[in-house]
């Protein structure tokens, strides 16, 4: 069964450094998403991406965040200058978008630790 994959599984970085989290969505899906979960808190929506542009973003998704689909398979989240509070589990998801009731399929997540 096709699945969403994410790399790396765990990323440790120093505050102020740039990180890129990578995702490979399911191949025929059209919508792509990033969510995050700070330890002990809810899973929060960050951004959705469709037709090579951001379709929706949350207040969390400020100028230090960016997303890109550099080729036909990868979907990346870049954090330009990491802060301690960016430490979280980041989940990528994708959905087919071909029905009015499409389902989002999630990857296993990348645990980001900012020191």
């Amino acid at each position: 069964e096709p699945e969403v994959t994410q790399t790396p599984s765990h990323q440790v970085t120093q505050m102020g450094q740039e990180v890129i989290l990578r995702c490979v969505p399911i191949s025929n899906h059209l919508y792509f998403y990033w969510y995050r979960q700070i330890l002990g808190q809810k899973v929060e929506f960050l951004v959705s991406f469709y037709n090579n542009e951001i379709s929706e973003k949350s207040e969390i998704f400020d100028d230090q965040f960016s997303v890109e689909r550099p080729d036909g398979s990868n979907f990346t989240l870049k954090i330009r200058s990491t802060k301690l509070e960016d430490s979280a589990m980041y989940f990528c998801a994708s959905s087919p978008g071909q029905e009015w009731a499409d389902t989002q399929y999630f990857g296993p997540g990348t645990r980001l630790t900012v020191l």
């Binding site: 969403v4 994410q6 059209l30 919508y31 998403y33 969510y35 808190q41 809810k42 899973v43 929060e44 929506f45 959705s48 469709y50 379709s55 929706e56 949350s58 989940f91 998801a93 959905s95 978008g97 029905e99 009015w100 009731a101 499409d102 389902t103 989002q104 399929y105 999630f106 990857g107 296993p108 997540g109």
Partner: protein, 115 residues
């Protein structure tokens, strides 16, 4: 705006006992409802969803949830749990008729099944 409340952060039960994980939502527009499960060290997996039609929906592993519009609830139940059901369960909503729309999650309920 939508919000989701999961009333129990932790639910310990013995194997073969019944369980109910509670979920209430708030929304000014029509929504779809979802339950996702997260097994240890894994991503979020869709367990079941309510889109329309019968208010009782079932998963392949014996869970069921009932949509109650008047009480704005979508509680998850299983008549007899197994050790393997130990996981974190997330209730989520999404605006209906909104392809690619974001999911709004509850805080999660940690189900711990003891022998």
């Amino acid at each position: 705006a939508q919000s989701v409340t999961q009333l129990d952060s932790q639910v310990p039960v013995f194997e073969e006992a019944p369980v109910e994980l509670r979920c209430n939502y708030s929304s000014s527009v029509s929504v779809y409802l979802f339950w996702y499960v997260q097994y240890p060290n894994q991503g979020l997996q869709l367990l079941l969803k309510y889109l329309s039609g019968s208010t009782l929906v079932e998963s392949i592993n014996g869970f069921e949830a009932e949509f109650n519009k008047s009480q704005t609830s979508f509680h998850l139940r299983k008549p007899s749990v197994h050790i393997s059901d130990t996981a974190e369960y997330f209730c989520a909503v999404r605006r209906s008729y909104n392809q690619g729309g974001k999911l709004i999650f509850g805080q999660g309920t940690e189900l711990s099944v003891k022998p």
